[in-house]
Amino acid sequence: MNRLAVKLPGLDLKNPIIPASGCFGFGEAFSELYDLSILGAIMVKATTLDARSGNPTPRVAETPSGMLNAIGLQNPGLEEVLKTKLPFLSQYDVPVIANVAGFSEEEYVEVCRRISKAPNVKAIELNISCPNVKHGGITFGTDADTAYRLTKACKEVSSVPLYVKLSPNVTDIVEIARAVEKGGADGITMINTLIGMRLDLKTHKPILANTTGGLSGPAILPVALRMIYQVSHAVSIPIIGMGGISCVDDVLEMIMAGASAVAIGTANFTDPMICKKLIEQLPNRMDELKISSISHLIEETRKEAHG
């Protein structure tokens, strides 16, 4: 038995390590550095119906133990993703989790319907939490009703399990989590970025052309752990956790908080080999901490949370 393996709706993961959406593109660059087949799964960049060229630059800024991004969902659009990006990944033995974004319910539904039919797409990650684009002034992920309705609509048309990605920029994340569970989500992924900002000391103006951006990286780890812990106690669908993971201890800590697998975002920039290293280092660290298998740790944590 593979002690790193995890089974989730639609996903048979060799291990719990998944590059996070937006931090890995569609895998091309990283495929030059290591064999993508070693990964648990790949969360690809957000796909919208039409191609998007994103926000003006600068799009990134650095912060203490973190970074801000305001890419603005730049992507080649659904057609191109279906035609070239997903086929490229099909040469690897790795499930793809398609990150879906949109500016209207119709757009989300259309992308879900079509992208979920791609042969290597094993699950959808519904991105209702991008802080850098707005829908009537509010992101879909900050209102429980909107989140519920969108989840329901997308679930109906998706031919693979649906995971909904939650925003941390809310007063009560448990309320949103319950809403998407009720809407039929098969799982939750969390957290997306916190909204932050930096200013340029010379110009006195925001560094990002978009004024604000999404904060990611180690800085947000404690917020992610807290939210995952709270949500895992409140819902029964599984959680893929993310936010600030940079080392093997962080992986295990997030699973102990209630995640069933984890995604690695910003750490891919600090160290492009990080996912490979984490997969390699897990068994040793598990030995030291007397953890027999990841699925056992998940089970134990779930029992603790749900009695």
Binding site: G25, F30, E32, S53, G54, E62, P64, Q74, D271
Partner: protein, 258 residues
């Protein structure tokens, strides 16, 4: 492209806060074009983004490359504090450099640089010189005490220098030199790298030139084309953009909007 722990072989402060670092490792053998860059991990756990630095010169036999870094902010400062014998975590080579294949022996090449944009032109100049090309350098600095590598470049061709304050060479910018009556602007290829203003000027001035190239800077996250942080808009009304880290940092003049 690889991620490698490279050894710092030597370090020199060329002028205040400007360091020449020589690093050794297998990565050097993968460098194919001058104008490519490396992406260096800052040896500080609180700084999560690598710093893109141009490759200034390459010694493939010794597996060594030279970088010239201005210790301007916290990250470059920390990189420049690395001690000789210690290691640096380097990703590279990244990006596409200056195309030179079309050039023929004896032709004339103009190289335009400003400040910290000058280093990537050095390896290019060495190669062009080896190929028997005639080189003219036009360099801009803030002032006399900011000038570096003057001898190195003078060994390869004619060097014209401008300073903002007139403390050395012509007072003004590289444009002042290019515009001066006696200056021979005719060239079979033009290569430039410098601050935004210089790049914009060159991009515009030589947009019709068949072989004029600029090397751009943009804030990066991944450095390898995965995140779309570092884009610049194409100048073809398509509404699409190119990635400085992957499609650049070298672009043909007129190809993108600077």
């Amino acid at each position: 492209m690889r991620v490698e722990t490279m050894k710092l072989i030597s370090k020199r402060e060329l002028i205040p806060s400007l360091y020449e670092l020589v690093c050794e490792g297998d990565l050097v053998s993968e460098i194919v074009m001058s104008g490519q860059f490396v992406d260096i991990k800052v040896p500080r756990a609180d700084l999560v983004l690598r710093r893109p630095i141009s490759i200034c010169s390459v010694d493939k036999e010794k597996k060594q490359m030279t970088l010239i870094i201005r210790a301007s902010g916290n990250g470059t400062q920390s990189i420049c504090e690395t001690k000789v014998g210690d290691s640096l975590d380097v990703l590279g080579p990244c990006g596409k450099g200056f195309p030179i294949d079309f050039l023929k022996k004896g032709q004339h090449v103009l190289l335009i640089g400003g400040g910290i944009g000058i280093p990537p032109l050095f390896e290019l100049a060495k190669q062009l010189s080896l190929n028997g090309l005639k080189l003219t350098f036009v360099f801009g600095f803030q002032s006399k005490n900011q000038i570096f590598y003057q001898n190195e470049f003078e060994a390869l061709g004619d060097v014209f220098i401008s300073t903002d304050d007139g403390s050395h060479g012509i007072k003004g910018s590289v444009e002042t030199i290019l515009n001066s009556d006696h200056f021979n602007e005719e060239a079979d290829a033009i290569y430039a790298c410098g601050p935004k203003g210089l790049n914009r000027m060159v991009n515009h001035r030589y947009s019709k030139h068949p072989h004029a190239y600029i090397s751009l800077e943009e804030r990066m996250a991944c450095g390898i084309g995965a995140c779309a942080a570092c884009v610049c808009d194409k100048d073809d009304r398509s509404g699409t953009n190119l990635k400085v880290c992957e499609d650049g940092p070298v672009f043909k003049c007129g190809e993108v909007i600077v």
